[in-house]
């Protein structure tokens, strides 16, 4: 095989494979440091957990040419101002519940998961909850008893009773409120939140 040109030789491609892989891996690791920093809660893109004390909107940002969350004035969740620690504990309970009840094998969160039920990225802002005043109550009722409170829009595709307690429901709602404040580069596009009071 001595007449093999260099570009077809095994040795050349072995070196190529090693070099390319190492190079790409290093780039990914560098980017990971930057990205993890940018998505740690308390950053510009991923808010601190006490964002649940504020009103959260979702509006088209002409400059970025995409929809983006807008953090407004005080709007305490369950009429209570939470410290960052309390807020974290509540959101954490919500996240644990979301995992333990396996919500993501029916729903998507941030667009990832299953396609049997609506995306929950902006569930906190969904017009289906009526208005700001009715929202917390309706969400709690729905999560703790989704069968009696089913809507299904004529499909009869209901969410089953997952045995969510009131406490867990509060956690899930806090988690969903926090989630709706994450900057997702404009996904979902064109989502119009339910009416909320002034800033």
């Amino acid at each position: 095989m001595s007449d093999t040109p260099w570009w077809a030789s095994q040795d050349f491609w072995r070196k190529c494979a090693i070099f390319v892989t190492a190079f790409m891996a290093v780039i990914l690791i560098i980017l990971t440091f930057d990205t993890v920093d940018a998505i740690t809660s308390g950053s510009d893109r991923v808010p601190a957990y006490d964002v649940i004390n504020y009103r959260i909107g979702y509006e088209f940002d002409a400059e970025r040419n995409m929809y983006a969350p807008v953090i407004g004035g005080e709007a305490p969740l369950f009429a209570t101002m939470h410290t960052e620690e309390e807020a974290r504990a509540l959101v954490d309970l919500g996240k644990l519940t979301v995992q333990a009840k396996n919500c993501m094998n029916c729903h998507t969160l941030l667009g990832n998961g299953a396609y049997y039920a609506p995306d929950l990225t902006k569930a906190w802002l969904d017009p289906g909850w009526g208005n700001e005043q009715s929202r917390e109550l309706l969400m709690t009722l729905f999560l703790t008893d989704p069968v009696s409170n089913a809507r299904t829009f004529g499909t009869n595709r209901r969410m089953p009773d997952l045995g969510i307690t009131d406490e867990e429901a509060r956690g899930v709602i806090a988690f969903l409120k926090w989630l709706s404040a994450v900057d997702t580069n404009g996904f979902p596009h064109g989502f119009e939140p339910l009416p909320q009071g002034g800033p």
């Binding site: 095989m1 077809a8 491609w13 072995r14 190529c16 494979a17 892989t21 790409m24 891996a25 780039i27 990914l28 990205t35 993890v36 998505i39 991923v46 957990y49 974290r88 959101v91 996240k95 644990l96 519940t97 995992q99 333990a100 009840k101 396996n102 919500c103 993501m104 094998n105 029916c106 969160l109 941030l110 667009g111 990832n112 299953a114 396609y115 049997y116 039920a117 609506p118 995306d119 902006k122 569930a123 017009p127 289906g128 299904t152 829009f153 499909t155 595709r157 209901r158 307690t165 867990e168 989630l179 994450v182 900057d183 580069n185 404009g186 996904f187 979902p188 064109g190 989502f191 119009e192």
Partner: protein, 492 residues
């Protein structure tokens, strides 16, 4: 799976088989058998989940959609991993030119892993969900798609993978190394290491999904691709007598192209999860390059097969290897590419498009090659018998099972693609992805019909799978002709 299910056929086979199988090869057969049982489970639960789209009352409150889907997906991941492990145990001694180092340990390992998988599935089906505590995540399920296995099982899987890795690496160390085995061992390190990225809990969903994709994407679009590249290289040498120097060079080319595009291609999952805007450009660009290595693989397989005049010693295996090359290109390359640019993905993200792509890619890229390998193994097990043209029954079983499965999966894929198109328009683009918009999308005639078509083609696929099992149980049984000799004189 009980011991009896696995032991009976294997004992029967041991008596029947003429050429002595090596320890690694006997172990491989166990992995393959377990893999096929899980394949059956996968389709069964897929059919249940699919039916619930049409009849939401069906098993409501008993076996809900999330449970069926979770079993569908976990059975798939585990059977494919079993298929890979089996294939590697099958080839390791041949490739290393020596005996497996820890055959006994490897056997115990198989039973521990299989017992753990059984317990996990039983808990999924019986306990289903827990309360919002860490204990649920440790004991019941983690609620993260594809890697739902509870933490205790994660740790067990890592230990078992460690034992497997030790066996493979130490066997090569004792015997000889080659380009294929070197690539394989390095790839296995990466594959196992990546699993660790999915083994932690965090409150922050953005961070959670950042690392979750390391496992999912860097498995299927990087390390699994290279792993099957290694298996394919060995398979082409065995079924066609392709030259080692050629398949090894191709393997390096594929590694360079696959890792070159696939590692940063990870960015196509970082468009919308809270991660910075630079991922829109990076992810879009690099993932758009990912089809290139997949084209290279098709060229490689077809070129090799053509060069050897499609004269192989194992027709079903070669046919499935070709199906793998095209399935990988179509399912991953074309169907992935369709939605990989952020401008499009903004609307298709999280719709039936994704599901359409997921089915064709997993089936086309991974189910196919595992099946090909099982045929290679069976041929030797049944006594190194003839499996080329002119099988006693005309080979109708393998031909029909291949045809029905490919038509079934392609039909399901098309149905979901149509549903996904409609969803992208109605739910995402027009409706703004609200609760109501979601159901507007789900109730359009195009969507509803697609769900029926998906079921119909799912049944076709399942029929093909059942014929496959029948063929696997019978092919070569009463064959007396020896396998065709395909090894060119210049074979190394």
């Amino acid at each position: 799976m009980s011991t009896a299910v696995l032991d009976a056929p294997i004992a029967a086979a041991r008596a029947a088989a003429s050429p002595a199988l090596s320890a690694g090869q006997r172990l491989a057969l166990k992995y393959f058998l377990a893999a096929m049982v899980l394949f059956l489970a996968q389709t069964a639960f897929g059919l249940l989940a699919g039916l619930q789209f049409i009849y939401p009352e069906f098993l409501f409150g008993v076996l809900d959609f999330n449970v069926n889907r979770m079993v569908h997906l976990n059975a798939m991941i585990v059977w494919m991993l079993y298929g890979f492990i089996g294939s590697i145990y099958w080839l390791v001694e041949d490739e290393a030119g020596t005996e497996l180092v820890g055959a006994r340990l490897a056997n115990v390992n198989f039973w521990i892993l299989t017992a753990a998988v059984t317990v996990v599935v039983i808990v999924y089906l019986v306990v289903q969900v827990g309360s919002g505590t860490r204990a649920s995540i440790w004991l019941i399920n983690e609620g993260r798609e594809y890697i739902e296995a509870p933490r205790w099982a994660d740790i067990g899987i890592v230990v078992c993978m460690g034992v497997f890795f030790y066996n493979v690496a130490a066997t090569f160390m004792k015997g000889r190394w080659s380009g294929i085995s070197g690539t394989l061992v390095l790839d296995l390190i990466a594959l196992a290491g990546l699993y660790l990225a999915g083994m932690f809990y965090t409150t922050n969903l953005s961070v959670d999904q950042y690392w979750w994709w390391w496992v999912v994407h860097l498995w299927v679009e990087a390390t699994w691709e290279v792993l099957v590249g290694c298996i394919m290289a060995w398979g082409l040498m065995k079924t066609l007598g392709a030259r080692r120097s050629i398949v090894t060079t191709w393997l390096y080319i594929e590694v360079a192209l696959m890792f070159g595009s696939g590692i940063l291609g990870l960015g196509h999952h970082y468009f919308w999860i809270g991660t910075p805007e630079y991922w829109l450009a990076l992810g879009g660009f690099f993932s758009a390059l990912e089809p290139i290595p997949l084209v290279a693989m098709v060229v490689h397989a077809v070129y090799d097969a053509g060069r050897h005049g499609f004269r192989s010693n194992n027709h079903p295996a070669l046919a499935w290897l070709i199906a793998h090359a095209f399935g990988n290109f179509l399912g991953a390359g074309v169907w992935g590419f369709m939605q990989t640019l952020p401008q499009i993905n903004l609307y298709t993200h999280g719709t039936q498009w994704s599901s359409s792509h997921g089915h064709l890619a997993f089936f086309g890229a991974y189910a196919t090659i595992v099946i090909a390998f099982i045929y290679i193994a069976l041929q030797k097990w049944r006594g190194d018998v003839w499996m080329s043209a002119g099988l006693p029954d005309g080979g109708w079983k393998w031909k029909w099972s291949l045809g029905l499965q490919c038509v079934g999966v392609m039909g399901m894929t098309m149905a979901m693609l149509i549903a996904g198109y409609e969803q992208a328009f109605v739910e995402r683009a027009m409706g703004g992805s609200t609760w109501q918009a979601y159901f507007e999308g789900q109730t359009q005639p195009w969507f509803i019909q697609a769900m029926y078509w998906r079921m119909a083609f799912g049944v076709v696929m399942t029929a093909g799978m059942l014929i496959l099992f029948w063929d696997l149980l019978t092919i070569g049984r009463n064959e007396t002709r020896p396998a065709k000799d395909v090894h060119a004189p210049d074979e190394v």
